[in-house]
Amino acid sequence: MFLLALLLGVFIGCSVSIFIIGNKVAKSNDIGNSKADFGDFASQMLNVIVQRDRISKP
């Protein structure tokens, strides 16, 4: 039982570490990886003319 716990534990430990390291490296070294978005180019908000939610399958 302990062996299984160790196996799963190491898997989880490594996964969490990779998640953290990946984020930190991106934050530290991937500079300016973004583009202009909707607000930068649209002169006003999106003008929604008709809006219908949860309709039957078209």
């Binding site: 039982m1 302990f2 299984l4 716990a5 160790l6 799963l8 534990g9 190491v10 898997f11 989880i12 430990g13 490594c14 996964s15 969490v16 570490s17 990779i18 998640f19 953290i20 390291i21 990946g22 984020n23 930190k24 490296v25 991106a26 530290s28 070294n29 991937d30 500079i31 300016g32 990886n33 973004s34 583009k35 202009a36 978005d37 909707f38 930068d40 180019f41 649209a42 002169s43 006003q44 908000m45 999106l46 003008n47 929604v48 003319i49 008709v50 809006q51 219908r52 939610d53 949860r54 309709i55 039957s56 399958k57 078209p58």
Partner: protein, 465 residues
């Protein structure tokens, strides 16, 4: 042409700090617009500048065939052939990278509705991908012969460094309508990069103390698109997760006016790089004047609007869709049916400023970009592998120990359905966390590739001085 100081005759350069034309020799400052009037008052000089292509400037034109470098036909005003050694032959790689268009809409944009505003037709331009025009001009300061390619609008003499605007005053065809002048100085560009790199935990020390191989301020040509976009869409999306996940259908009709979507008009500069420089604030644009170019490099466009139309519409579509999806409270949203209707309302041509800073790391050149208006930095920096490995090791040991105890404790109670569910949920979260982590690392590597790409490096390197 050299924009010279009315007081002492030395070359004037545009000064981002004051927004004026500055004389390094006598420290005089001039307003660019004021100076223009002055040029017109001194009509003689104006005449001389506009005759750039005439014999007094010993201009030569040489055409280089792309497909066959042996066939170099020279059309010279001079009897003697100029030294072609310094010709920017790398400018011959004119193939536009198309791989970065990842979007493939249900609707195709083969026949965009077209209504270009005031721009002149581009058909007259010789934009044959196979040939490149190259001009040789004589420096008015030192007399050296300098080769410039056809898109360059301003440069520096490669021998004495004199700032030279080579853009022909009479070439109205390639004259931008607007310009955002540099407001970030070279010193500021270097400073913001140094500060940013020092903050990066995984930036190697060798890079933190970088020695710049090259720093160049370049005006990049851009097309600005005004696009009207309207669509009626049936969409589907999912709500909830696991057993409680349901698919729902939605209908949206919406429209939007996009103003001045920026698309770079330079064949050599990678689209991905130029898009990362965004946003440029177009409300700070000024009517174009040659004076702004003095002291910087500048390129005119060599990608026509007809080549960019599709890209502009694709961007409009992507932005539109993003906004539509935000009105739907669901995940995994996709369009199942739509009827888009769009119109290009206007295209305008402008030049935007950017600093390009090149340093070497492990013998690979990396070129960082700084938006010359906003100071936004763009660049993928190599990471310190040792630091990444040791940080990972420390974290992995700590989290593995904790997780092992938690798992051991949960496994005591395998009969309970709730515990098993929790265990599986934890494992799924861990798995997707790992995937997210690797995908972030992959993104950094892609950015590094872009920053060290020879295309970007050559864009900066292969010009004048």
């Amino acid at each position: 042409m050299v924009i010279d100081c009315p007081a002492c005759g030395a070359a004037l350069m545009f000064d981002p700090e004051t927004g004026k034309m500055k004389c390094d020799a006598c420290d005089s400052l001039y307003d660019p617009s004021e100076l223009k009037d002055d040029f017109q008052a001194r009509g003689q000089k104006e005449l001389k500048y506009s005759s750039f292509d005439e014999a007094d400037n010993k201009t030569s034109t040489l055409k280089i065939k792309h497909d066959d470098t042996e066939k170099i036909s020279l059309k010279l005003n001079d009897t003697e052939a100029p030294a072609v050694s310094s010709s920017p032959s790398q400018g011959l790689s004119l193939k536009r990278e198309e791989g970065d268009v990842s979007f493939n809409p249900e609707s195709t944009f083969d026949n965009p509705v077209y209504d270009h505003g005031d721009e002149a037709s581009q058909e007259q331009l010789d934009l044959d991908n196979e040939t490149m025009e190259c001009k040789i001009y004589t420096c008015t300061s030192c007399g050296a012969e300098v080769a410039i390619n056809d898109v360059e609008a301003s440069t520096f003499c490669s021998f004495c460094g004199q700032p030279t605007v080579v853009f022909n005053r009479v070439d109205s065809q390639r004259k931008p309508k607007y310009i955002i002048p540099f407001s970030v100085t070279k010193e500021t560009a270097i400073e913001v990069i140094r500060k940013r790199l020092n903050k990066g935990f995984f930036v190697p020390d060798a890079i933190k103390n970088f020695e710049l191989e090259r720093v160049r301020g370049i005006y990049i040509p851009f097309w600005l698109y005004d696009v009207y976009y309207h669509d009626k869409q049936y969409l589907k999306g999912k709500v909830g997760s696991g057993k409680n996940e349901h698919t729902y259908y939605y209908y949206r009709e919406a429209d939007c006016n996009f103003k001045e979507i920026t698309l770079d008009a330079s064949r050599q500069l990678n689209d991905e790089s130029s898009q990362r420089l965004e946003p440029y604030y177009t409300n700070k644009m000024r009517p174009f004047a040659l004076e702004y170019l003095s002291g910087f490099y500048a390129d005119t466009y060599d990608v026509t609007t007809s080549e960019v139309d599709t890209l502009a519409l694709q961007r409009a579509y992507a932005l539109f869709q993003e906004a539509v999806n935000e009105t739907i409270k669901a995940h995994s949203i996709s369009v199942i049916k739509n009827a888009p209707d769009y119109k290009i309302l206007k295209t305008q041509y402008a030049m935007f400023p950017a600093w390009f800073l090149t340093f070497r790391y492990e013998d690979v050149p990396y070129t960082l970009l700084v938006n010359g208006q906003t100071e936004k930095i763009v660049g993928g920096i190599p990471y310190d592998r040792g630091k990444v490995a040791s940080s990972f090791a420390v974290l992995a040991v700590v989290f593995s120990v904790i997780a092992t105890f938690v798992m051991y404790w949960l496994l005591q109670d395998t009969d309970s359905e709730g515990t098993m569910k929790l265990l599986i949920t934890i494992l799924i979260f861990a798995g997707s966390g790992m995937i997210a982590g690797f995908s972030n690392l992959k993104k950094v590597k892609e950015s590094m590739k872009l920053t060290s790409s020879s295309a970007t490096n050559n864009f900066v390197k292969n010009r004048g001085q």
